[in-house]
Subunit: 166 residues, 2 copies
């Protein structure tokens, strides 16, 4: 499963870091306090931009750790600036860079037990990836994108898709 999981996460996290760079530049250009954008939400009971980025990172961290049978690294959600969120992404990228095909050789069939909201779930590695972790990874990344687009940051699908810089 290495080749189906890791390169796509790496690519999306690269995209997310670039999106945050554009968001920060938007703050500078339009004299917006970065805190305001980092706290922006699509609806009052939804999570703000900063948490959407942290959760995107978390799902990548957890997928990599759980699919390889490693302990999930603990990354406290202390980031309060764009620079810190990009450092968090870089931390996850370093974790993913250490992943190997050999480490993933039992990933599809590994039994994975994890907390999902109030309950505990057990799934095979493949089902954990396809039914649980990956949809949530893209969900939170998409919410980060949606918050920024709704806030007027100039982004396009190419940014989400990590298209090569022109």
């Amino acid at each position: 499963m290495y080749s189906i999981v890791i390169p796509a996460l790496q690519r999306s996290l690269t995209a997310l870091a670039r999106i945050l760079t554009k968001a920060e530049a938007h703050c500078t250009d339009h004299k917006i306090a970065p805190d305001v954008l980092l706290a922006a939400r699509l609806f009052p009971d939804m999570l703000p931009l900063s948490r959407q980025v942290q959760l995107t990172c978390d799902f990548a961290t957890r997928m990599n750790a759980r699919l390889t049978g490693a302990t999930v690294p603990n990354h406290p959600d202390t980031e309060t600036t764009f620079a810190q969120l990009k450092a968090r992404i870089a931390t996850v990228q370093a974790e993913l860079a250490n992943a190997t095909p050999d480490g993933f050789k039992d990933a599809a069939t590994r039994s994975i037990t994890f907390k999902a909201g109030p309950s505990e779930m057990t799934l095979s590695g493949q089902d954990y990836y396809a039914h649980f972790a990956l949809p949530q990874f893209y969900f939170h990344m998409s919410m980060a994108y949606a918050i920024l687009r709704h806030s007027g940051v100039v982004l396009g699908k190419r940014d989400y898709m990590a298209a090569p810089e022109a």
Copy 2:
């Protein structure tokens, strides 16, 4: 690749249909014209709810067809009501229900050439799935969810995740 691709798409499309049912009920409860919600956007140059649903469907249709070497079915984007969008989802679900593990046996290595914006891309089936089609499937589904949440429809992550009905 059948087991990693098809059940997750089926599950997410089931979730999307249920989300549309809740959105339609929200219109009834709050005397909102369904057309207004179907035309809602997160930003003026983003696509409206109806197109987000159609694109979610398209990426599922295309993944299933291209990964099995079939011709991509042509679904014109003519839906103008919640009922019609749910029928579109049902059409895609019927396509997915016809998929078989045997049909997917060469999916990972099949060479897939497709139009992506102005250019043509060729990827292996696995890369087409992991780097291109699946991120976009979840992107458009997430945008549909985001538009509805931003419009005040009461939904939660459980709806996006197709958690079983309580």
